[in-house]
Assembly symmetry: C2
Homo-oligomer: 339 residues x 2
Amino acid sequence: MGQMKGKASIEFDNPPVIISAGAVVGRKEGQGPLGALFDQVEQDDMFGKDNWEQAESAMQKQTADLVIEKGGIRKGDLRYLFAGDLLGQLIATSFGTVDLEIPLFGLYGACSTMGEAMSLGAMAVNAGYAKQVMSMASSHFATAEKQFRFPLGYGNQRPLSATWTVTGCGAVVLAGDRKSGMAKITGITTGRMVDMGAKDSMNMGAAMAPAAFHTIEQNLEDFQINESYYDQIITGDLGEVGRRILLEFMKNKGHDLEPILMDCGIEIYDKEQQDTHAGGSGCGCSAVTFCSYILPKVQSGTWKRVLFVPTGALLSTVSFNEGETIPGIAHAVMIEHIE
Amino acid sequence: MGQMKGKASIEFDNPPVIISAGAVVGRKEGQGPLGALFDQVEQDDMFGKDNWEQAESAMQKQTADLVIEKGGIRKGDLRYLFAGDLLGQLIATSFGTVDLEIPLFGLYGACSTMGEAMSLGAMAVNAGYAKQVMSMASSHFATAEKQFRFPLGYGNQRPLSATWTVTGCGAVVLAGDRKSGMAKITGITTGRMVDMGAKDSMNMGAAMAPAAFHTIEQNLEDFQINESYYDQIITGDLGEVGRRILLEFMKNKGHDLEPILMDCGIEIYDKEQQDTHAGGSGCGCSAVTFCSYILPKVQSGTWKRVLFVPTGALLSTVSFNEGETIPGIAHAVMIEHIE
């Protein structure tokens, strides 16, 4: 049973353990600063398929298979799959997971999906609903650009506040068994929709920063802790612009996050060399950075406690074209080193 | 703690109780056979808004407010919201729930979303993660047609196998407290993606029937029961065509579902008078039929035990135009009368 904490959090009595994790990324991500850390870097962004959507589905399948093999897991032992992507009607996930034959909870939290998937996965394992579950999220630069922005061939100019959608898929397997040198999920704080009126789809960091602020504040309040509790607080894909806004918001509340705030979107690309402007984004951004960079640091004990906060901007081409705002959401997952 | 049953099911130790439920529908649904049962029938399908998407969001907000008021619930007591709709990037839910200020798990299960939302909501309440949660799903004829098919003004002809997307939103509040004359959720069976190669978006019943079959079979197997355990087995929106396929599949496995199989899509419209062809569909179809027709019958004890199985067809315009198949998914929820 989980213990309710404060207004929007749960502290797990039997913190689920991350027993396997892996990430598959595209070529550009492989050329970035974290390139050497990913399990697989696919040189062909089509993943050998006929179209971009099939490519993203193939990437999900490849990631799930990798994580199963890496962890020495029997596919039949995975009781539930919590997964999602950015595409309309989750088609990357639908086609990517059909061969796995695992009961599926399809999720949509925009780029916060890995946080949502890990939260629900941990809730299921802690409650004894499953011995093992998989949480997974993906995005693909080409499917996202095609869906949200312009045809790639059009070659539109991107403002400096724009982010670059990560081609990547990350997945973890959560289980009840704990071993020394692993990482566990001790708690979660679930975000709500936050709409501050941002309208620029080329500046999603600004749209998501208020949601990240709200969820991090709620986490500190619900657990009656301050930021020094964590070695790192890691947002999903705020990028340079969103990061500055979040720091400012937190500072106004008396929290100095500067020394411990990291953003997956900033880490994943080399801004100067890779022309990615404000940073990386997409569900895959936080998912692959978590699996390949953050998790190993928690496993090794470099970081004892981190707060992982994937952030999502809720827009569609329809809502954008109708002049709507872009609400944000952020889901926080508390990850701790097991001594 | 929930008890794992078989391969894909959970039996709840403390079955969550449905303490409030309500449905808001559009004009056409109000004119159908269940018209008098809905809490609110809106004569203006625009819900007083400027576009269809805003209308669907307004309908969600209206439904949530109604269910909160009807149940004498304090909004602050609702710890989590499990909700979704059919639109790309869940925009009906994003904008519809922002004012509720409740931590949100955004879900996408196509028309099976109400089953997914009730499953996860019940899992959360049973595990002690929340005292009260809301599960909600909506669809709107005009947003769905605009997104999946043709502009309304084009006036395309619809084949007899096509279904009519329900304009409606249904929501329930689940809690731990039980009272005589209410209904409880005793268990769930979570579906997986099932792809039998169906490709016709004007015949989604055929695409979903194999998934419904798979989930119902799994439920009977996991709980070691046969169909006579239930007074009714109720699918979401198979329509006339999908229903026939499901009956045939079940018959081949030795189960005669004919006397107890009901389909929300068939119940909600008068086929002859309303020109709806194979029946109703959309997340809202099973959600409003559940809240207004099925639930009262379980509360009154007319039906002691029902299996509610919302069904979803996973397609997007992109996947359809790329010639992909339409995988299906179905999530089963076991509902029981409380003496």
